[in-house]
């Protein structure tokens, strides 16, 4: 039966499992991936570590208190994106209707496969089997008639499981869940609903939309009421073409030193340029994001007549954008550089007069890195710099 055509596939403790692929000694012990500095937060925790109460986004210091004996590993985002690409390749070989939500989760609409498989559960079993056999990674899958329920089901299927919510049991399953698990219910809404005596998703469905609207406003009330009643018409929208690519890092202590900031901007641009080229894109818009010590976040962006994908070009724009930011004599807590208005490889591209040397350089460094790894070559200005702080998200 294909009356539950939506799969939500979520990799289990993805960063941790990738680390375990590369280092067998991490198997079977608590593992925490996250920024190792004072301000680091947990990016991923293995199921062993979760038993000690450690969860994602928790400050690292707190995690260390809860689970002192865990193995702590700094994140390697480029490695995770690499593996993520392979995971998504499997998704796309199953169906073109893949909507990625992040590096490690996606919706798949498998309704087009009705002639090849008996039912969508069979497809889900196949997807899990291939991820396990080809990549040696665990994934959990929720199979349901709607996106919301598929996502809820994959959460309940974890770890390394599969949960099928048939149409006939949709409301029964959904409405027994606590209201907090409904999409769009954050802390504030949750507290408000609790004041109402609302505990389960079913409680929301039982209220009249008008009562709900008096507290939440009409739009939010209608939306939540529809979802709680099992109505979720959103379809899987495949997002093959990336819309933007960015790199950012949060620093252990605020950056003040100009030379250091300059170097970090360069390091970001180098990484961003590399990722752009790898994905086969060039960017017409560059965005700089700076979060100051007091958490003020400033972004500046600039658009170009012709797309760029080499470090030097990104860098000159990023530095100019940086010069327009008033730091108010504060240090920098977070620095991010993004590329948007992406133009795919193969699109005619206006070349720059002095661009060919830089293009050739980029092509050469890409080849070296493909062969000897991403640290094999880089800008000389970064050579003696301490390892740039890894991004935490």
């Amino acid at each position: 039966m294909f009356s539950e055509p939506i799969l939500h596939v979520d990799m289990d403790a993805f960063y941790v499992e990738v680390e375990r692929l590369d280092d067998a000694s991490l198997s079977g012990v608590p593992v925490i991936v996250g920024g190792l500095g004072n301000r680091g937060v947990v990016a991923a925790a293995s199921y062993e570590a979760r038993q000690y109460g450690v969860f994602s986004a928790m400050p690292m210091a707190q995690a260390r208190k809860l689970c002192r004996h865990a193995r702590y590993v700094p994140p390697r985002m480029s490695r995770y994106s690499e593996v993520s690409e392979s995971v998504f390749e499997i998704f796309r070989s199953v169906t073109p209707a893949v909507e990625g939500l992040s590096v490690d989760e996606a919706f798949l609409d498998v309704s087009s496969l009705r002639l090849l498989y008996q039912d969508s559960v069979e497809v889900a079993v196949e997807v899990r089997r291939r991820i396990r056999e080809e990549l040696d990674l665990p994934a959990s899958v929720g199979v349901a008639p709607t996106k919301l329920v598929a996502k809820l089901a994959s959460e309940d299927a974890k770890p390394d499981g599969l949960l099928h919510v048939p149409s006939s049991h949709l409301l029964e399953y959904l409405q027994a869940l606590p209201v907090r698990r409904l999409w769009g219910v954050g802390e504030a809404t949750h507290a408000m609903l609790e004041g109402f005596g609302v505990e389960t998703i079913g409680d929301i469905a039982a209220m009249t939309p008008a009562t709900l609207a008096s507290r939440l406003g009409k739009a939010a009330a209608t939306h939540l009421h529809e979802l709680a009643s099992g109505r979720d018409p959103r379809s899987v929208v495949s997002n093959d073409g990336a819309k933007s690519i960015s790199v950012e890092a949060t620093y252990e202590s605020d950056l003040h030193d100009l030379a250091k900031i300059d170097r970090e901007i360069l390091a970001h641009c180098e990484r961003l340029a590399q990722r752009l080229r790898k994905a086969g894109y060039a960017a017409k818009t560059v965005t700089l994001k700076v979060r100051l010590g007091d958490f003020t976040t400033v972004t500046r962006s600039h658009s170009l007549p012709s797309p760029i994908d080499v470090t030097r070009d990104l860098w000159s724009i990023a530095r100019e954008l940086y010069s327009r930011i008033d730091l108010q004599s504060q240090g920098i807590r977070l620095l991010g550089i993004g590329a948007a208005s992406l133009v795919a490889k193969g699109t005619p591209r206006q070349m720059a007069l002095d661009g060919s040397r830089h293009q050739a350089l980029a092509a050469a460094t890409d080849r070296v890195r493909d062969r000897y790894g991403s640290d094999a070559v880089g800008p000389a200005a970064l050579a003696d710099a301490p390892e740039p702080e890894r991004p935490i998200s």
Partner: protein, 359 residues
């Protein structure tokens, strides 16, 4: 301060100085022009702190003095008065502008707030033929960038060489290079093109004087002075951008090419280039835009070289063709990924280097 002058003359000096005034200035005082009356002369100064324009006019002086008046409003007010004599009278915080009946009373701006524009640190100076100089500037100016994120590329480079002055501008996609034979100066520096664009209207005259200092360039004529802060930084090393040699050469009628590119650009848009199929006998132009359609045509011309297809941005190409003032143009190329050189068939004083679009 009290003066009287002909409406048209007064409107003219006010409006020309006001060209340096930006409407977006964060400092309210910069919305004003400074008027100083000394001897028999009115001097009007407008500035945005980078570009300063001073204009002068012989006037009937009833009372010397100085005032700052709102630039646009005052010059428009004068212009819209009936023809004939107009008088400006500043006293007690008000400026009265009258002429043949109508009377404006405008609030004076605080003269103490008006910035002191330091005298330019220039020495010497050389005299140039105004129209020829302005024309050369507009020829190279088309290649200057308007992208404030790359300030260096928004300038025109002045380079004094032994027996000529060289002007260069590039936005990194194309480069315009013009020499002015016989113009001997010590002018060297990078001048914002947005200031040079104002020269013609602000102080254009048959004779211009050009002076350069470490920080400023000053252009002056009998009609006034334009002083501009030079752009700091190193301009790209231009000479290395020109290929050593061009094996292939197309010679065609400028008007025919320009018209053809104009037709192609109807279909092309933004990043869609026009393709030049070069072959003995001429050039086959074609442009295709998937969702719209295409256009093709053939131009008879002399072509020496191997057959090849090279593609250009239509706007960059027509900018270059427009800047050349000869009937026939030459396009020199080496290969589809190297810059093409566009110039007049007779003279090499103006050269336009254009990077192709990679297909």
């Amino acid at each position: 301060m009290k003066i009287r002058a002909e409406r048209d003359d007064l409107a003219d000096v006010l409006a020309r100085a006001a060209r340096a005034v930006t409407t977006r200035s964060p400092l309210p005082i910069l919305q004003g022009v400074l008027c100083v009356v000394e001897g028999g002369t009115l001097t009007v100064t407008g500035t945005d702190l980078e570009v300063t324009i001073r204009t002068t006019l012989e006037v009937e002086v009833l009372e010397e003095g100085r005032t700052v008046i709102p630039a646009r409003l005052a010059s428009e007010a004068v212009r819209k008065l009936p023809a004939g004599a107009v008088s400006i009278h500043a006293r007690e915080g008000e400026v009265e502008i009258t002429g043949n009946g109508p009377r404006f009373r405008l609030r004076e701006l605080n003269i103490d707030d008006f910035p002191q524009i330091s005298e330019p640190d220039t020495v010497g100076g050389s005299s140039v033929d105004g129209p020829a100089f302005l024309k050369a500037l507009s020829q190279v100016g088309i290649a200057a960038s308007t992208d404030e994120a790359r300030p260096i590329l928004t300038g025109v480079l002045f380079e004094a060489e032994s027996d000529h002055l060289r002007l260069v501008a590039t936005d990194s996609y194309r480069l315009a290079d013009r020499i002015l034979p016989g113009v001997i100066t010590d002018a060297s520096g990078l001048v914002p093109y947005r200031a040079l664009k104002e020269l013609s209207r602000a102080i254009g005259d048959p004779k211009l004087t050009v002076r350069f200092g470490d920080r400023d360039a000053v252009f002056s004529s009998d009609r006034g002075t334009l002083q501009v802060r030079l752009i700091e930084g190193t301009f790209p090393n231009v000479s290395q951008l020109f290929p050593d040699s061009y094996p292939y050469q197309l010679k065609a009628s400028r008007a025919e090419l320009l018209e053809a590119v104009g037709r192609a650009s109807l279909v092309a848009e933004d990043h869609i280039p026009v393709r030049f199929g070069l072959h003995t006998g001429g050039v086959e132009l074609s442009v295709t835009r998937q969702e719209v359609g295409d256009e093709t045509e053939h131009i008879n011309a002399d072509y020496n070289g191997d057959e090849m297809t090279i593609a250009f941005n239509t706007k960059y190409l027509s900018d270059g063709l427009n800047a050349i003032d000869e009937d026939d143009v030459v396009l020199e190329t080496a290969d589809p990924l190297k810059p093409g050189l566009l110039r007049g068939a007779e003279s090499e004083d103006f050269r336009y280097l254009l990077m192709p679009v990679r297909l």
